[in-house]
C-alpha cells in the first residue's frame, strides 16, 4: 500500500461516493489508486467548479464534499471555490497534489504554496509530510470541516508522500484534537433567559440564517415557530428554512429582501437571530436590531456573536440542540395582534412590478417555474439580478434553495447544481443563472454530458451584466461601463453542440407549456428566457 491508496481508503471510510476534480502529474498517484475504488470520479472543466460541485454535495448530504486537483495552477484555480465555501460555512475537503517534498520551496514546475495561499479562506489546512500521517490527518480534516462553524479544509499532499509505501493502514475511530472543541450545547441558564424574554415579548420574531440549514435544524425551528405561533424571516442563506408559503414565514430580510420582512425586523420587540452573521447585506444598520428590543443571538461560532451587533442574550451552540432545548420549556406566546399586523404589512408592502409584456417577466416566470417543480426539488440560484429575483420569487416547499451568499461568486449555480444532482440523483435539480454567470461556467455542460448528470438550466438573458448595469444606472446615471455582453454565443447552437435539448421563451405567452416541457423528464435542458434588458430588481 502507498500513500495514495491510504487516501482512498480514508475517503471510503468517510463514506465519500463522488470526487470532483482535475488531474495533473502531482495528483496522479491519487487518480491511479482511485481506479481500484467504487468512488465515482467526475472530471470538471476547470478546477474552481470542482470546489463548487463539492459544495453542492455538502449542502445536500450534510457531509463534506470532496474535490481533488493538481499542484500549482490546479490548486490556485480552486481558491475561489474554497473562498466561496468558506464565506457560507460549507464543509469541503480539498485535496491538492504537491511537488516532491524535497523540492518544496525551490520554485520547481507547478509548485505553488497553496497552504499559504488559502490560509485566509480555510478553516484549517495540512501539508502532509509522511504517509503514516494520512489516516490521522484525514480523520481530523473531516471532523474539523463538519463540526462547529463548518468550513473547507485543504490537504496538500506531495507526490512522493502519495507514492511512499505504508506498512499498515488503520483509520482512527476518534479524533484526538486537544486544541479544538467547539461548543455544541447551549448554556442552560441562557436558554431559560430566552424563554423568560419570550414570555414577556409581544412582538417576537425569529430571523433564520444559513446556520440553521447547516445544523439541519429546519424541522426543529419550524415546529417551535408553529407551536408558539412565532413569525419567521430569513437571510438569503436561510431561504428554505421554512416553506416559502408557510403562513408564519415573512420573507427574506436585507437590502434585496422584502420590505415587510425588514419592517418586521425593525418593529419586533424580541429578535432571535439564529445561524446568521448579521452581515451588511442582511442587516444594513446593526444598531436598529439592538435598539428598543431584546436581541438573542444564537450561533455555533462565538466570534460571530457581538461582532456586528451586541446581543442582550448571547447563546453559543448548535441550532438543532438549542431548539430541542427550547422545546422542553413551556411557555405561551400572545402575539395574535403582532401576527395580524405582519399579515397586513405583507399584503400592503409586497413589491409591485410593472413588467414589459414584450419580454419574459423573471419574477412571474420564477414563481410559475417553482410552482411546477417537484416538491423536494433543488433550486440553485446564481449571482446577479437573477439571484435577487430567485430569492424574491422562488417557492421552496420541501426542497432546497442553494446560492452563493457571502462571497457572491458568479458561475456558482451550474457546478453546484451538478454536485447536488450527483449526490441526490432522484431529486429534480434546476440551476437558474443570467447570461453573464452562465458564461462563467458553461464549460461544465461537457461535464454534465460526459458523466450523465442531468441538470436543468435556465438562462435569464438580457445581454447585460444586469446587477452592475443596474448599479451604474443609479450611481453613474446610465453611464454604462463594461457591462454589455454582446458577442455571447447563440445558446441554441451551443446546446446543439453539446447535444442538450434547448427551449426558448420570448415572452409570457407560452410560459406554462414551456415550463412543462422544460421539467417534463429527468434530462438536461437549457431554457433561455429573454428578459427586459432595462429591468431592475
Amino acid at each position: 500500500m502507498i500513500g495514495a491508496d491510504a487516501i482512498i481508503k480514508c475517503l471510503e471510510a468517510e463514506g465519500v461516493t463522488t470526487v470532483f476534480g482535475y488531474p495533473g502529474v502531482a495528483i496522479c498517484p491519487f487518480y491511479n489508486s482511485i481506479l481500484e475504488s467504487d468512488i465515482r470520479t467526475v472530471l470538471v472543466r476547470t478546477e474552481q467548479n470542482a470546489a463548487h460541485a463539492a459544495s453542492g454535495v455538502s449542502r445536500m448530504t450534510g457531509r463534506p464534499g470532496v474535490c481533488a486537483v493538481t499542484s500549482g495552477p490546479g490548486a490556485t484555480n480552486v481558491i475561489t471555490g474554497i473562498a466561496t465555501a468558506f464565506a457560507d460555512s460549507i464543509p469541503l475537503i480539498c485535496i491538492t497534489g504537491q511537488v516532491n517534498s524535497e523540492l518544496l520551496g525551490s520554485d520547481v514546475f507547478q509548485e505553488a504554496d497553496i497552504t499559504g495561499a488559502v490560509e485566509s479562506f480555510v478553516k484549517y489546512s495540512y501539508l502532509v509530510r509522511r504517509a503514516e500521517d494520512i489516516p490521522r490527518i484525514f480523520k481530523e480534516a473531516f471532523h474539523i470541516a463538519n463540526t462547529g462553524r463548518k468550513g473547507p479544509v485543504l490537504i496538500d499532499v506531495p507526490i512522493d508522500v502519495q507514492n511512499a509505501p505504508l506498512s499498515r493502514f488503520k483509520y482512527p475511530e476518534e479524533v484526538n484534537l486537544r486544541t479544538y472543541k467547539p461548543t455544541v450545547k447551549g448554556h442552560a441558564v441562557q436558554i431559560k433567559k430566552v424563554i423568560k424574554e419570550l414570555e414577556k415579548a409581544e412582538r417576537p420574531l425569529i430571523c433564520a440564517g444559513g446556520g440553521v440549514l447547516l445544523s439541519d435544524a429546519q424541522d426543529e425551528l419550524r415546529s417551535f415557530s408553529e407551536k408558539h405561533g412565532i413569525p419567521v424571516v430569513s437571510t438569503m442563506m436561510g431561504k428554505g428554512v421554512m416553506p416559502t408559503e408557510h403562513p408564519l414565514y415573512y420573507g427574506m430580510v436585507g437590502n434585496n429582501g422584502m420590505a415587510y420582512a425588514n419592517r418586521a425586523m425593525n418593529e419586533c420587540d424580541l429578535l432571535i437571530m439564529v445561524g446568521a452573521r448579521v452581515a451588511d447585506r442582511a442587516v444594513n444598520q446593526p444598531d436598529l436590531i439592538t435598539r428598543d428590543k431584546v436581541l438573542v443571538h444564537i450561533d455555533v461560532d462565538p466570534a460571530e456573536i457581538g461582532k456586528n451587533a451586541g446581543p442582550t442574550i448571547p447563546l453559543v451552540g448548535d441550532a438543532k440542540h438549542i431548539f430541542n432545548d427550547f422545546d422542553r420549556e413551556e411557555y405561551t406566546c400572545n402575539c395574535a395582534a403582532w401576527i395580524e399586523a405582519l399579515n397586513g404589512y405583507r399584503a400592503e408592502m409586497a413589491k409591485k412590478r410593472e413588467p414589459d409584456p414584450a419580454y419574459v417577466d423573471p419574477a412571474e416566470f420564477i414563481s410559475r417555474l417553482t410552482d411546477r417543480m417537484q416538491e423536494n426539488a433543488v433550486y440553485v440560484a446564481d449571482v446577479g439580478q437573477n439571484q435577487i429575483w430567485s430569492c424574491g420569487y422562488a417557492k421552496v416547499r420541501k426542497g432546497r434553495f442553494l446560492t452563493s451568499g457571502g462571497m457572491g461568486t458568479m458561475g456558482y449555480s451550474i457546478p453546484a447544481a451538478m454536485g447536488a444532482k450527483a449526490a441526490m440523483p432522484d431529486r429534480q435539480v434546476v440551476a437558474v443563472c443570467g447570461d453573464g454567470s452562465f458564461q462563467m461556467s458553461m464549460m461544465e455542460l461537457a461535464t454534465m454530458c460526459q458523466h450523465d448528470i442531468p441538470v436543468k438550466i435556465v438562462v435569464l438573458k438580457n445581454n447585460y451584466l444586469g446587477m452592475v448595469r443596474q448599479y451604474q444606472h443609479f450611481t453613474y446615471r446610465d453611464n454604462y461601463s463594461v457591462v454589455d455582453l454582446s458577442g455571447s454565443p447563440d445558446l441554441e447552437k451551443l446546446s446543439a453542440a453539446y447535444g442538450i435539448p434547448f427551449l426558448r421563451l420570448e415572452n409570457m405567452e407560452k410560459c406554462d407549456e414551456t415550463i412543462e416541457a422544460f421539467l417534463r423528464d429527468d434530462a438536461s435542458v437549457l431554457l433561455e428566457c429573454l428578459i427586459d434588458p432595462m429591468d431592475l430588481v
Binding site: 497552504t115 485566509s120 484549517y124 474539523i144 486537544r178 486544541t179 462565538p302 451586541g310
Partner: protein, 166 residues
C-alpha cells in the same frame, strides 16, 4: 484604545505562528509585540501577544484567536495579576574613557555587560517595559549603535487559572 496582553497556548506545529500573525494582518488588528517559545511539553508553544484596540476589537481578537484550530487556550494577562518581562541587548559606543560611566548606569539597573570591544560595550537588561524604557532613555547621552528587544513574555501569578496540559 486599550492595550492588552494575551497569553496563548498553541500546538507546536509548523505554520502556527503564521496562522496567528496572518489573522492579525488580514483583520487589521495591531500587534505591538509577539514572543513565542516551546513549553515544558514539546507539543505546545506559549505565545505572548501585546495588542491594542477599542474594546469591541479586543473582544474580537480574543474570540478569533480562540477559534483557530491550533489554539488550545487564550487568556488575558492582567497587569496586576501577572508578571511581564522583556529582554534587551544594546550596543553603546564607548571608548576607554566612557566605559566606566556606561557601566555605572548599567549597574543601577542591574544590567549585565556581555561584550566589551575597543570602541563599544554590549549591555543586557531584563525587566518590565517601564524599566527598559527608563534604561534606554538614560542611555540617551551615549551613542546607541544597535538595539534588539524581544517583546514581552508573561505569566499569570500563582496557581489559579493555570492551564494544565493533559
Amino acid at each position: 484604545m486599550q492595550k492588552k496582553v494575551y497569553q496563548l497556548l498553541v500546538n507546536n506545529t509548523s505554520g502556527v505562528l503564521s496562522r496567528i500573525t496572518g489573522l492579525f494582518s488580514r483583520r487589521g488588528y495591531n500587534i505591538e509585540s509577539i514572543t513565542a517559545g516551546v513549553t515544558a511539553d514539546p507539543r505546545f508553544t506559549r505565545i505572548t501577544i501585546v495588542t491594542s484596540g477599542a474594546d469591541e476589537i479586543l473582544e474580537q481578537i480574543e474570540k478569533q484567536l480562540a477559534k483557530l484550530v491550533d489554539v488550545r487556550d487564550i487568556k488575558e494577562l492582567k497587569p496586576d495579576e501577572s508578571v511581564y518581562r522583556e529582554l534587551i541587548m544594546v550596543k553603546v559606543r564607548a571608548a576607554a574613557e566612557q566605559r566606566q560611566s556606561v557601566i555605572s548606569v548599567a549597574d543601577i539597573f542591574r544590567a549585565k555587560i556581555i561584550d566589551v570591544a575597543p570602541e563599544s560595550l554590549m549591555v543586557e537588561l531584563t525587566g518590565n517595559q517601564q524599566k527598559i524604557d527608563a534604561f534606554i532613555s538614560l542611555l540617551d547621552g551615549y551613542e546607541i549603535l544597535e538595539l534588539a528587544r524581544t517583546g514581552i513574555a508573561g505569566l499569570g501569578r500563582g496557581t489559579e487559572n493555570v492551564t494544565y496540559i493533559s
